[in-house]
């Protein structure tokens, strides 16, 4: 999923970075990674391919054939400048973010018989809280002057929290529907206590 997000955003990220003046492929890669605090690192090949596409579309042009193509500088054309302006002016659609494995997984968990839904939810919750601790620690140690990195990490924190809240709702809804556990008995170690769902059976 993250790769998909990168594919969508690299094009406009490169155009936006080039607003600051001409730059090389390597410098663009470095600037992108730094701006997003290494959250969605791109490889140099992705940057290079994207630049070629931008040149083809007339949004970016390269400096004249230097001996070493790695030092070639790229700059925005007028059309590229317009494209960036259009990008800043339009809101980002949530639908572009692609299929979310967690959502699909939980939908399947309530659909397929025999899945220990409560255990799936609790394991996911535990892992997400751990991730939240990690991201928060990174957020605490980020250079105070690096506003872009702080905002990117804050976004991760709020997105994770939203998913955790959604998991609470999933758990409550599943319990209300009498579907809190499978027929297989108690939740394995690390999962929930079995007290409130031990006898409920999955409806078929």
């Amino acid at each position: 999923m993250e790769m998909m997000e990168v594919a969508v955003s690299v094009k406009h990220a490169l155009l936006a970075l080039l607003c600051g003046g001409p730059s090389t492929t390597y410098q663009l890669k470095k600037d992108f990674d730094r701006t997003t605090n290494q959250t969605w690192p791109v490889n140099i090949g992705q940057v290079s391919t994207t630049l070629q596409r931008l040149v083809r579309d007339g949004l970016v042009a390269g400096s004249d054939e230097p001996e070493d193509p790695g030092t070639s500088e790229w700059y925005l054309t007028d059309a590229g400048r317009e494209e960036v302006a259009r990008w800043w002016a339009s809101p980002v659609s949530r639908e572009r973010r692609g299929r979310d494995e967690l959502v699909v997984k939980l939908a399947l968990a309530v659909h397929v018989p025999g899945v220990d839904i409560a255990a799936v939810v609790q394991r996911q919750r535990s892992a997400m809280h751990q991730m939240l601790h990690d991201v928060t620690r990174a957020r605490r140690t980020v250079d105070p002057g690096d506003l872009a990195a702080r905002l990117v990490l804050d976004n991760h924190i709020f997105a994770t929290e939203a998913e955790l809240r959604w998991l609470d709702v999933v758990e409550a809804e599943v319990a209300r529907a009498g579907r809190a556990t499978a027929t297989r008995g108690p939740v394995p170690a690390g999962g929930q206590t079995a007290t409130d769902q031990a006898t409920v059976e999955v409806a078929r």
Binding site: S126, H129, R165
Partner: protein
């Protein structure tokens, strides 16, 4: 190796039953918790999971049905009511959602209050109060009254009061509940910083992003610990390595 220092808070096999017979409710079941100086622990769980009971027991406001609660190494159950009150005053500070500052008193007077109850002279209390107000970033509000403060400022003063003088155990019950997101984060940062300077902080919260500032998060359900999480490098230590 030197002997481990006495924990600021220790719960050993603590249970609390409310009501009796058919009406008996297990509010907390066989809880073990150790909080050392400099440690910050968050407690999460749905309503009725035992979070408030835990805070009340930790602060000596309630007594366990079985098990032991030790504050600074002292068994609360072995103390007289007066002894418990003294220990509470000297060792335990509370922070609540609605700040609970005394209206009409300045910030400095509010913070000095527990010290004066403990027999400190105003003269002796003054520099200590100034120091703790400055530690939470509100030294310039010393002469202001709670009614003239923002929520974030009032909560900083409440944290200063909770940790003034010799107090090292801070029990915080939803301290960010009445604050906006940015101010809430600032308050959790203050709690983190106080822990980094040696306080032991127990934070009850419904907000995962605030719990994530703690060294570990304990999850309660039906009075039992069902999970403990922390940063990934602490997962093994906590016995909860993500699968």
């Amino acid at each position: 190796m030197s002997q481990a220092p006495t924990p600021v808070l220790e719960l050993r096999g603590v249970s609390r039953v409310h009501g009796r017979d058919a009406q008996a409710v297990d509010a907390l079941v066989d809880m073990d918790l150790v909080l050392a100086a400099g440690e910050f622990v968050a407690v999460m769980g749905p309503s009725g999971s035992g979070k408030s009971t835990l805070l009340h027991l930790a602060g000596g406001l309630d007594a366990p049905t079985s098990g032991t609660v030790l504050v600074e190494g002292q068994d609360l159950g072995a103390l007289s009511a007066t002894g418990r009150a003294v220990l509470r005053r000297r060792s335990v500070g509370y922070v609540f959602q609605d700040f609970n500052l005394l209206p009409g008193l300045t910030a400095a007077e509010n913070v000095a209050f527990p010290l004066e109850l403990d027999g400190w002279s105003a003269h002796k209390a003054r520099p200590v109060v100034r120091t703790v107000l400055s530690e939470v970033g509100v030294e310039d509000l010393a002469d202001r009254r709670p009614e003239d403060m923002s929520g974030g400022q009032a909560q900083r003063v409440a944290i200063a009061r909770a940790l003034v003088g010799p107090r090292r155990l801070l029990l915080a019950d939803e301290p960010t509940g009445a604050l906006d997101s940015v101010t809430g984060t600032e308050i959790v940062q203050v709690l983190r910083s106080r822990a980094d300077h040696g306080a032991a902080v127990l934070l009850v919260t419904h907000e995962p992003r605030f719990a994530a500032w703690a060294d570990r998060t304990v999850f309660l359900r039906d009075g039992r610990v069902v999970d403990t999480t922390g940063p990934s490098d602490a997962a093994e230590l906590l016995g909860t390595a993500a699968s």
